[in-house]
């Protein structure tokens, strides 16, 4: 962790409040291939909701729908009560795969959402540099994505998403491809940088410990259950009696989920 000198986040003054995202009786997926049926999900403003579920259960579909990239097949999606139509800058999406533009330096990638919004060059540069520093990438700001490690790329993605000051951050297994140690560092970093914002976070993962560590609540996709996670955050969830019980419950409910359960259609 030599290059993880993380600047402490500024307190959440003046940051825009998080979005409340609501899915009502939603059918998600691509036309002709629905993945999730009858889904109800209410994400409170400013909370961190982690979503767990086995692979292929529609986690990525859920996030792409929340981002506005995939239209609903049925049902409603609203933010703060208003219907969502298409992607917008107030809902940032962070991908598991490498979504940095490979011809832009890390800093230029972080500047991108600001450039799209028309922020003046000097101001854009200053804000990008600030975010690059917060995720500990100042020494690599002028490098191209392929010149840095996978963990550094994900940090740049995080900085890029947050630089646009979104009111909701949707994260699709962002640390899924990282090794265990880098992943633990990234989780800590995420918690640190998020305290500087009031953004709502929906974080999809297949790692139950990650879900319990990061989430205020954990949604078990396909079962329709949402569990509250006790606070403060602890790293070794299984060592705390309260979280250990919760962890057992999450694992049991994921294991015990049978094929034809309402809310999920399994894809091959």
């Amino acid at each position: 962790m030599t290059d993880t000198e993380i600047t402490p986040a500024a307190p959440a003054q003046g940051a825009a409040p998080g979005l409340r995202l609501t899915l009502t009786d939603a059918v998600l997926g691509r036309l002709g291939a629905p993945v999730l049926h009858g889904l109800d999900l209410d994400v409170a403003a400013g909370e961190i909701l982690t979503v767990v579920g086995p692979s292929g259960c529609g986690k990525s579909t859920l996030l792409r729908t929340l981002a506005g990239l995939l239209p609903l097949l049925d049902g409603r999606l609203s933010q703060d009560g208003e219907p969502v139509e298409g992607p917008a800058a107030d809902r940032a999406l962070i991908f598991q795969e490498d979504a940095l533009l490979p011809w832009r330096t890390l800093r230029a990638n972080v500047e991108l959402p600001l450039a799209i919004r028309g922020v003046a060059r000097a101001q854009r540069r200053a804000r990008a540099d600030d975010w690059v520093a917060r995720v500990g990438l100042t020494a690599h700001a002028t490098r191209l994505p392929h010149q840095v490690s996978g963990g550094q790329r994900q940090r740049a993605q995080l900085a890029r998403a947050l630089a646009g000051r979104p009111r909701a951050v949707l994260m699709d297994e962002p640390f899924g491809a990282l090794d265990a140690q880098t992943r633990a560092g990234m989780q800590q970093l995420l918690v640190t940088v998020l305290t500087g914002t009031r953004a709502t976070v929906v974080f999809v993962t297949h790692d139950v410990d990650e879900a319990l560590f990061l989430g205020d609540r954990v949604a078990l996709l396909g079962t329709g259950r949402v569990l509250d996670v006790p606070r403060p955050r602890v790293r070794a969830a299984h060592a705390e009696p309260a979280t250990a019980a919760l962890r057992r419950e999450v694992l049991a409910s994921l294991d015990g989920r049978t094929e034809g359960r309402p809310g999920v259609r399994r894809t091959a």
Binding site: R64, A67, G68, L69, P87, A88, A89, R91, A92, L93, F95, E97, D98, A99, L100, L101, P102, W103, R104, L112, P113, I116, R117, L144, H146, G164
Partner: protein, 297 residues
């Protein structure tokens, strides 16, 4: 970085690689050997089924070349041909990228233009000479049109494929930052497709050059192709060979120009420290060699 690393890095692919100067010597020697063979065949008027009796020798050709370099007519021909190819090729690059992008991203554009272009594509540009003569008030515009037609299809097709092969998350990422259609086009589609587009430009400039020379031979009033054909009709064989050498050199110049521009624009592409395959100079030659037959087929 240093010499041993280079050898070690590429050894599995090509075997031990000789020092750079050895390779330069080898290349120069190959060219000199070819010139020497030509000189001998022409000087001794060899006639072994293939007839070299009418061939000018290397020295005669070189003398004629040197003489023509001193005339204004030679430079006028060169500048005419270059103007035509730059005009036609630039037009093809701009329209080819625009049309290729539209075909890849708009169902409407594909339905309207796709079938039409597929029918026009197999027609060799040089077969459009009669059309060009009918269509344009002057030969000059007709030649530029043919040069354009030659490069347009390789650029369009490669652009279309490059745009369709783009990584979808790039576009998704930019759209979730609030980017509109034009912003996506400008910030993601064009830069992302550029390496593929450059392949089409490389092929296109080769075919363009073939077609500008052919069109000049048929209907030009000036230009290297026109001059070469004129020299042939008056049996000035050294002049014909000077023309051919000029065509070769200018073709090399234009395709190297495109190649260098391309490498400058795609410096972001991941490359191994020493780069795979042959050294930089050799790579240019190799790409051009591939470009010309690919385009004329």
């Amino acid at each position: 970085m240093n010499a041993p690393a280079t050898t070690a890095g590429t050894a599995p692919r090509t075997g031990p690689r000789p020092a750079p100067w050895t390779r330069h010597v080898r290349r120069t020697a190959a060219v000199l050997a070819a010139l020497a063979l030509w000189q001998l065949l022409a000087q001794f008027r060899v006639h072994l089924w293939l007839r070299f009796s009418q061939f000018p020798t290397v020295t005669e050709t070189a003398r004629e070349f040197a003489r023509r370099l001193g005339t204004g007519a030679y430079w006028q021909d060169v500048s005419e041909s270059l103007t035509r190819i730059v005009g036609g090729f630039a037009l093809a690059a701009v329209l080819g990228v625009a049309v290729g992008t539209a075909l890849a991203r708009s169902a409407l554009a594909f339905d309207l233009l796709g079938p039409l272009l597929e029918v026009l594509r197999p027609i060799p540009a040089i077969a459009l000479v009669p059309v060009a003569i009918l269509l344009f008030p002057s030969n000059e515009q007709g030649i530029v049109f043919i040069t354009f037609a030659a490069a347009f299809f390789p650029v369009t097709v490669s652009t279309r494929h490059a745009v369709r092969a783009l990584t979808p998350v790039w576009e998704e990422a930019v759209r979730t930052m609030g980017a509109g259609r034009w912003r996506v086009l400008w910030s993601v589609v064009l830069p992302g497709a550029l390496p593929g587009i450059l392949g089409g430009l490389s092929v296109g400039v080769g075919v363009s050059w073939i077609c500008v020379i052919s069109a000049e031979m048929i209907s030009g009033e000036y230009g290297v192709g026109y001059r070469t054909w004129q020299d042939y009709t008056v049996l000035d064989y050294p002049g014909v060979f000077v023309g051919m050498a000029t065509i070769g050199l200018l073709g090399r110049l234009t395709s190297t120009g495109v190649e260098l521009l391309g490498r400058r624009l795609t410096r972001w592409l991941p490359r191994t420290a020493d780069g795979p395959g042959p050294p930089a100079g050799a790579r240019v030659r190799w790409r051009r060699a591939r470009a010309v037959p690919g385009g004329s087929s």
